[in-house]
Symmetry: C2
Subunit: 411 residues, 2 copies
Amino acid sequence: MSIIVMKFGGTSVADTERIQRAASKVAREVALGNQVAVIVSAMSGVTNKLVAYCDEISPKYDKREYDAVVSSGENITAGLMAMALQELEIDARSWQGWQVPILCSEAHGKARIEDIDASKMLRHLGRGQVAVLAGFQGVTERERIATLGRGGSDTTAVALAAALGADRCDIYTDVDGVYTTDPRIAKAARKINKISYEEMLELASLGAKVLQTRSVEMAYKRDIPIQVLSSFDEAIGSDLPGTLVTREEDIMEKHVVNGVAYAKDAAKITLFNIPDTPGIAAEVFGPLTDAEVNVDMIVQNVSEDGKVTDITFTVPENELEAALQSLNANEKLKGAEIRSNADVVKISVVGIGMVSHAGVAQTMFRTLADKSINIQVIATSEIKISVIIDKEYLELAVRALHTAYGLDAYN
Amino acid sequence: MSIIVMKFGGTSVADTERIQRAASKVAREVALGNQVAVIVSAMSGVTNKLVAYCDEISPKYDKREYDAVVSSGENITAGLMAMALQELEIDARSWQGWQVPILCSEAHGKARIEDIDASKMLRHLGRGQVAVLAGFQGVTERERIATLGRGGSDTTAVALAAALGADRCDIYTDVDGVYTTDPRIAKAARKINKISYEEMLELASLGAKVLQTRSVEMAYKRDIPIQVLSSFDEAIGSDLPGTLVTREEDIMEKHVVNGVAYAKDAAKITLFNIPDTPGIAAEVFGPLTDAEVNVDMIVQNVSEDGKVTDITFTVPENELEAALQSLNANEKLKGAEIRSNADVVKISVVGIGMVSHAGVAQTMFRTLADKSINIQVIATSEIKISVIIDKEYLELAVRALHTAYGLDAYN
C-alpha cells in the first residue's frame, strides 16, 4: 500500500462541479488501495477577492491579519472537497493548518514550513480516511495563522509528502505537464516526460509557472518524486501521463538542453564608475536586501584601471523603484552613474547535459546573433545559461533557441 | 475603566466601507477609555453563498465539514475589522474561535458554547489591544470547528461578555432597537427604550428577529445588559439611543403589554380521536422529537367521555412534512384522524405587566372578535398570550392589537 499526496490548484477546484471532478480522481487512487492526502488551493478568484478586500481596508495592512483573511479561501475548498469525497462514499475529513499542526515561521505572508507533526494525520490515514488539507497555510508558535505566499500550496503538498513519507506527490494543474518552453510562444513546444529536480528548480525560478520554486527545492532535498498532471485529463497519477520530476539518476535519456525559459518582469540596473574596492558589492547589495529587493543576475567585470568598475544586475520590474530609491540614498555610490531599463527580458536555457557538452553557450550566442539580437548581460551556472535582451525580441529568441537546441516537437 | 463588547451583524459589515464605519464606532468607545472586544458576523451574503456551495456538493453533507466551510465567513470579517482598526491607529487583532478558545459541544451546525477561557484575551485587552472575535463559531474537544447555528454571533457576543465580565454588550444591527411590533406591518410601531430579559426572550422566540433567542437566554442567566443599536446611526452604545434589554427591576415604567409578535412560518396539526390514556402525549411527541421536529404550542382539552381526545399543536412550516410522516408511521395513532394546515400564523402579545393586570387576554379576544377573526388555538404563559389565526388576517390582527394595547406611537 502506498501513500499518495494529490494537490489540486485553483483552476482545478474553481467551482463545485470541478471540485467533484477532482474528487473522482481521488476516488480512483483510493480504489487502487492507496492512502491518500489531498491538498487544495482556494477556488480560483477567491484569493484575489480576499486580497482586494485587504487592500481596500488598509494599504499598509498587518500581514498577520492578511493571513487570517486569505487563508479562509483554502479552508473553504478543503471542507467542500471532504464533502465531495463523502458523497462518493469515501471516508474523508478536512484539515486546517493549525489542526495538523503545520508549524510555520513568523514571516507572515511568506512564511516557511518549519515542522509538520504528521502523527495525528497518519493515524487517520491508517484508518482508511482521506485527509484533505488546506494548502498555503500553517500556524506559528504564537498560534497565529501564517500563509506561505502565493503558490504556496505546492510547497504544502511536497512538505506534507515528506512528512508522511509519501511514495509520490501528484500536482494537478491546468496544464498537462512541464513543457520545453511556453507553448503560447512556441507552438513546437514539447511536453517533457521526465526532468531532474535541478533542471526543474532552474526552470521554476527562471519563470516557468508550473511549480513553485520552493516546492521543487523541498522535493529535491527530501527526494520526493513530483508528478505534474492535468486535472482535466482522464488519467490519474498512477497512469503517469504528465511530467515526472525526479532524481537525475532516474532519467535515462539526458538532453543537453531540456527547456527554454523566460522572465518578462525583469528590469536591469547598471552602476557605472563605482569604486573598485573590496567590499563594494556588500555596500551595494546590503541596503537592497534591507529594502526587500530581490536581486537576481549580478555581473561585474574586471576593471581596466583597478580604480573604478561597473556592476550590472537585474531586479523584478515591480521592485525597480524601491531599488533605485535605495541606490540613490546610498552614500557609497555618491560618484556613480545609475542607469536602469525595464524593457528587458531574461531568457535562459537549462539542461543537465550541459555539464558534459562543450559549445552549448556558443549555440545560444550564435543563434541570437543570427537573428541580430543583442545580448546585454550573460550569466551562467553549471546547468543553465541566462541572457538579458531587449523585451521586443522575446518571442523571436525563444522560438529560435527552441529550434536550435533540437527541442521542437516534430523536427 | 469598563469592558465593552460590541457586536456587528452581517449588514453592518456588508462591505469594506461599512467595516470601516463600524471600526470608527469602536474607535469612539476606545477613546472613552474602554477596553473593547468586538464580535463580527460574516459580510452579508457570504454565509448564504458558502451554504449554497455545500448544498451543491452534497445534499446530505457532513455538518463538521459544513462548519469548517461556513465559519470562514466570520474569519474573513474579523481579519478585515482588525485591519480597519489598525488603520485608525488602534492596536487590534483578530481571534478565531479556536484561538481563544471558545469550547463548544459536538452538535455541529447548532453547537452550544460550553466554556470560554478568556484569560488570554483578557491579557491582550489589558494591554489596550482591541480583540476582534469571529462570531458564530467555536472549537470542540476534538479540535474540530463547530458553528452555533444561524444568528449565533449574538450568542457569541453575550457569552464573551459574560466570560470577560463585561459591563455592557452592544448589538449593532440594521434596525435602531426593539420595536413594539414589526414597523413594516404597523406604521405606528414604537421603539422600546427598555425591555426585560423575560419579555425579550418571549419576543425573540415568538418571531422578533432582532436578537437570537439563545443570546437573550444567556444574557438573562448571566445578567448581561444588552443594548440593541443601529450601526447606521451616529450614536454609539455609551449614548444609549437604542433598546436596553435588562433586569425587570431596572425598568421603572412597566407596560401591561410591551410588544406584539408574529411567526409566519407556523403550521398547525390536529390529532382527532386519539386514546385519552396516560402517556399518550409522550407517545405522540417522542417520535416527533426523534424526527428533529420542533413542536411549539400544544393544546389538549379535557375529553368529554374520558376515552378519546384531540390534541392540537404547531410546528415550523418547513418541518410539517417530516412531522406528518412521523405521525402517520406512529402505531399508537392507528385510529386517529390527522389534519394539518400551513396557512396559519401565530400572534402573541408579551408584557411583564400582564402578571398583575386582569383582562389582558380578554382585550385580545375582544379585539380579534371585533375584526371577525376566528381564534383557532390559544396558549398562555405568565407574560404572553399566543393565538393561532388564519394567515390572511396577519396584518389586520397585528395592527388592531397594537392599537388596542395602547402601543401606537401617536395615540
